[in-house]
């Protein structure tokens, strides 16, 4: 064991003794490792950002649909009750009528999208209620004419975010009905704002499907689609469960008249695409690391030929092949390890700066850091092997003659 300490000491001495050259050699490894760390954390940050924005934008929901060309069966309120009772771990199920119209407030009239459903629709967006409250089951039951919009919408159509209790006039198909604002969701997300850039402003209203259906002639008893809310991790699974249950109830088993899809499916695809992008970036930085490794090999070869005499001396006083080999391998490994440590520090700093500048969460996994450190040592061992062998195989007589 004392031997290892000797090798380590001699390696450090050699590295420190060759200060400037060591620094230049290490640079390749430093940059390579820093790039790996930065790329990995940037990739993780990007996935995290996209996933959370996606969830924020669309909520955790899936849709079960009837293909009306294949069957005349429709979903009913009883179906909803049955699903709520029997399917576990879902946050709720609701019909969903989507349409576009106009909304008029005390200041302005703007275009609006309208989502009608039950109180379950609150989970439609992760952008929670900031003011007032969402409409309730009773209000859905009784057909109260109430609505929920965004703080931004209130600002736009009333000129103030202080809009709870105010009335708006919703117009569609030449009909106008007055609804009362009961709740306001928070400001829209950055990604949403980004997507909305350059388009005319439109408000996002949510209303109970009962009154909405009556007011604008939608079916409030039979539905072609139902929206299921559940945590993203179990979403696809739950959507299938609901689909199968309803297929059974309506005697549609084995037909493909019902279909279900969820955003989780899309998320998975997106994850895969992001995964490819990350692998590609990682590959590029690993290549830079390998280039750094070749630099190390180069320097080690120079070092071996410069120290031929030293090798000869060591051998003449009894160093065996293995001892010389280990000495040079140690040097290469310590060199790349030091480069790795500096690279990790720079990589972490770079990750912080870049991720913060872009607005990603800074995610640096310990496994990445540990992996990078180990990888840098491996590079030293791998690229040091050839020079070390060359040194070790030298005959003492030839090495001394120089």
């Amino acid at each position: 064991m004392g031997q290892i300490g000797e090798y380590f000491k001699s390696a450090v001495k050699q590295i420190v003794g060759n200060g400037y050259r060591t620094l230049m050699t290490m640079l390749g490894i430093v940059i390579g490792i820093a790039a790996v760390i930065a790329v990995v954390s940037l990739g993780t940050g990007m996935s995290d950002y996209v996933t959370s924005e996606l969830n924020g934008l669309a909520g955790n929901y899936g849709i079960v649909m009837v293909d009306s060309s294949k069957t005349s069966e429709r979903f009913t309120r009883d179906d909803m009750a049955l699903v709520s009772e029997t399917v576990k771990d879902i946050h709720g199920i609701t019909p969903n009528i989507s349409s576009y119209g106009k909304v008029k407030g005390s200041r302005k009239t703007v275009e609006c999208s309208l989502e009608a459903g039950t109180e379950v629709l609150e989970a439609f967006s992760t952008n929670g209620i900031a003011k007032g409250s969402y409409f309730t089951a009773q209000q859905v039951e009784s057909g109260a004419r109430v609505c929920v919009m965004l703080l931004d919408d209130a600002k736009e159509i009333f000129g103030t975010e202080d809009a709870i209790g105010r009335d708006v006039e919703i117009s569609m198909y030449g009909k106008s009905v007055t609804y009362t604002v009961v709740g306001l969701r928070g400001h829209m997300s950055e990604m949403y704002e980004f997507m909305m850039q350059g388009q005319d402003y439109y408000a996002q209203l949510e209303v109970p499907y009962t009154c909405f259906g009556e007011d604008f002639d939608y079916d409030t008893v039979n539905f072609t689609n139902l929206v299921v809310f559940a945590d993203q991790s179990i979403l696809s699974h739950k959507v299938d469960e609901v689909k199968n249950l309803l297929a059974n109830v309506h005697g549609l088993r084995g037909s493909n008249a019902l279909s279900g899809y969820s955003l989780a499916d899309f998320s998975e695809q997106l994850d895969q695409i992001l995964g490819y992008a990350r692998s590609f970036l990682l590959l590029v930085s690993v290549i830079s690391l390998i280039v750094g490794g070749i630099g190390v090999m180069n320097i080690m070869l120079v070092s071996v030929s410069e120290r031929t005499r030293e090798i000869g001396i060591r051998k003449s006083i009894g160093a065996k092949t293995g001892a010389i080999m280990i000495q040079f391998l140690f040097e290469a490994a310590v060199l790349t390890f030091l480069g790795g440590v500096v690279g990790i520090i720079l990589g972490v700093i770079a990750s912080y700066i870049i991720c913060t500048a872009i607005g990603f969460r800074v995610i640096i996994e310990p496994a990445t850091v540990l992996g990078a450190a180990m990888f840098s040592v491996l590079i030293g061992l791998f690229f040091g092997l050839y020079p070390a062998r060359k040194a070790a195989k030298m005959r003492p007589i030839d090495a001394l003659r120089l």
Partner: protein, 233 residues
Amino acid sequence: MKLVEIRDVSKIYNPGENEVKALNHVSISIGKGEFVAIIGQSGSGKSTLMNMLGCLDTPTSGKYFLHGQDVSHMTDDEQSDVRNREIGFIFQGFNLIPSLTALENVELPLIYRGVGKKERERLANAALNSVGLEKRKTHRPNEMSGGQQQRVAIARAIAQAPPILLADEPTGNLDTASTKEIIRIIKRLYYEGRTVIIITHDPGIAQQAKRIITISDGMIKSDIINPDYRDEI
């Protein structure tokens, strides 16, 4: 059984074209505790002989027995071991490692021997003290005079007490004062019981040895007990 015995050893450099017969059927045996000088003109094959005796090179033909064991055709690692255990080298050019201090240089053969740190330091210190360098232990070779460097090399050669000391022109790079000092130390080591083989082209130095072997053109010309040998330091 002699300590060192080479039988009918030849060494041919560059066999084929341009071949040089550096040693031509040489046989020598040297007993334990002898003090031998090998003398000859430049190019006569002294260093080649020393490389054979020191297990640094293998003969083209012939055999080398050390302690009765054939060491002429061992593997590299086995030869490393023999050098480490049996032979202390003193070279003309000192051959110290420039990045290491005197003490660290002296410790090297002990490291390769596998001696633990404490014992190693004790032995290395003792060796340095015995050549009068107790004040230079932390100095690097480039901070020392030639004579001092050669004394470090001697300390390294004796640190782990090998039976044989092999010196190739140990004073070739030194002035008269340092030469005297080095020869004095080498003689003392001989009195302490070591077998000393010193290679030189300087008759003055050869005269200090008890037995003088003269070599010329790769062959032994004479092998005599030195009539002028004086038993004194």
